[in-house]
């Protein structure tokens, strides 16, 4: 490598303040561990290589590296991705919507921030793009929406003082465009149908769903603590011993009926439609006053409370 890298910026591991070895008398300074240690064969052996064949395999993972993966229909791979990434469904759908026209990679972060219900994630904006690309729901294009030149990256060769060097090049900017499989996923996304399926699965809790949606429909939204007062005190929920308020909120969120936005849980448009579906459901549970319930937090980050 060339040496124009600023080594001064590196934070090395040895403490320079403790580098007390003064250049002076070289006689005793030749360092050789064979002089410092007696022969010790205990616990020693020849140098051993690792054995990659013994790497544990995680079962039931989708092997995207497998040769046949890319040959499977992109629609199938996209559905599989959405199944695996269910908690990020809103984000993935939002990405597909944002990329219906070519979307610059540097604009992806802003597009993500605008998606209602997008959560803090260990995945970077580009990670989401790559996931959708591997699944076949997004493709790389240029600014005009034409296929991205897929040439393998190649450095230039330059000559300096008669010596040849590789000089890394910079590839053209990547834009993202939703593919046919991605558009099919968007078209198939039907929050009303998902809410219907949810309500059909848990008919005994329809009053609870109606209550939670109603609380979220307030202009200022609601908090997990307040929803807990309304749900976890309900004998119908307490006696079932299966669920707590988080289950109902998460189910509604995954159905697209609720979203954590601007510091509160709020109903979405799809949620309002779902609430209308529950118009005939009678919810006669009387929510206790907050003061009557111990330890209700007044603030929440949406998850911890």
């Amino acid at each position: 490598m060339s040496t124009n890298i600023d080594l001064g910026q590196f934070d090395f591991s040895f403490d320079p303040a403790l580098d007390t070895w003064a250049v002076g008398d070289p006689a005793d300074r030749e360092l050789d561990s064979s002089d410092l240690f007696l022969p010790n064969d205990e616990g020693r052996t020849e140098f051993l290589p690792p054995d990659p064949d013994r790497v544990p395999v995680i079962e039931n993972t989708v092997k995207q590296d497998a040769p046949g993966y890319a040959d499977r229909p992109p629609e199938e791979r996209t559905r599989e991705l959405f199944g695996q990434m269910n908690p990020h469904r809103a984000t993935l759908l939002g990405m597909l919507r944002a990329a219906e026209t070519p979307l610059a990679t540097k604009a992806v972060a802003d597009a993500l921030a605008d998606i209602p219900g997008h959560k803090f994630s260990v995945y970077t904006p580009s990670n989401f793009c790559t996931m959708l690309e591997v699944a076949g729901a997004l493709e790389r294009v240029n600014e005009a929406g034409e296929p991205y030149a897929a040439a393998a990256p190649e450095p230039d060769i330059v000559e300096v003082d008669g010596v040849q060097f590789w000089r890394p090049t910079t590839p053209p900017e990547v834009f993202w465009l939703t593919t046919d499989a991605g558009r099919a996923m968007l078209a198939d996304d039907d929050p009303a149908a998902r809410a219907e399926r949810l309500f059909a699965k848990e008919p005994e809790f329809l009053p609870v769903y109606k209550r939670v949606l109603t609380l979220m429909d307030a202009p200022e939204g609601t908090t997990m603590g307040l929803m807990s007062v309304a749900v976890d005190t309900d004998p119908a929920v307490k006696e079932s011993r299966r669920f707590y308020v988080q289950h109902f909120v998460e189910s509604l969120e995954r159905a697209g009926a609720a979203a954590w936005t601007e510091g509160a849980w709020r109903i979405t448009e799809a949620g309002r439609a779902a609430l209308e579906m529950l118009a005939d459901v009678v919810d006669d549970y009387e929510i206790p006053a907050v003061e009557m319930v111990a330890d209700v937090p007044t603030t929440t980050d949406g998850v911890s409370w």
Partner: protein
């Protein structure tokens, strides 16, 4: 040899030693932790010799320059993920990654903190070096062994600049001994595994570059010290 020629030779030698100190420092940094944005920019703006006379170094330079030519917004994340995959892996078998510790390759049960670590720690201490509190890994991590050689190379430069050729020779001899007894024994085993576990050409290239540079430096030290 005239005085002028001697001066020129000495200046060339100092330059060569500075170059090897810088290369050891850079390799140490690349093994110590993931690449950050500043370093990535500098690596992208660097030039990589096409033909150094060592095929391993040449391949390393080519792979790294090629990888950097595909740089995009997710490159830092890709590199961080590959760093973890290569050097940490997952699972508990002791065979899931290219573990960057000498003890793993030099102990029967592939354990950390074995004799090899004690030996290099003694050498660091004998050289008046102590690790920073921020360094939480074993002292036989390849980043520390490379940094140790960078320190010795800097001391050789310092001695030569002070016209103390005996001291310079002693530092070079210490470097040679360290390579001979430690780094050159196990680094090739590590780099073979890095090539298997790495998914980016960057870390594959780093493996080649490490092999090539250690090989070249070992020969250079043999030449300088007149070792047959």
């Amino acid at each position: 040899m005239t005085e002028k020629t001697e001066n020129a030779t000495s200046a060339e030698m100092i330059e060569a030693l500075k170059q090897r100190a810088a290369t050891y420092a850079l390799l140490s940094r690349l093994y110590a932790k993931e690449v950050d944005a500043t370093l990535l920019d500098e690596l992208h703006d660097s030039l990589y010799p096409v033909s150094t006379g060592n095929p391993q170094t040449d391949e390393g330079n080519r792979l790294i320059a090629t990888y950097l030519s595909g740089i995009w917004e997710n490159t830092l994340t890709e590199l961080a993920a590959d760093y973890m995959r290569v050097f940490f892996g997952h699972g508990y078998s002791g065979h899931a990654a290219a573990y960057p510790f000498e003890s793993v390759y030099a102990s029967e049960k592939r354990l950390l903190m074995q004799d090899a670590r004690d030996e290099v720690l003694a050498l660091y201490r004998a050289a008046g070096l102590s690790k920073r509190d921020s360094w939480k890994e074993g002292e036989d991590h390849i980043a520390l062994e490379l940094e140790y050689l960078a320190v010795l190379a800097d001391r050789a430069v310092e001695a030569l600049c002070a016209a103390d050729t005996d001291a310079a020779a002693a530092w070079l001899r210490s470097s040679y001994n360290f390579l001979d007894e430690h780094l050159s024994n196990w680094a090739p085993l590590l780099t073979v595994e890095m090539e298997k576990f790495a998914k980016t050409d960057f870390y594959r290239g780093l493996a080649f570059l490490t092999d090539g540079f250690l090989e070249t430096d070992f020969e250079l030290l043999e030449d300088m010290l007149g070792i047959e």
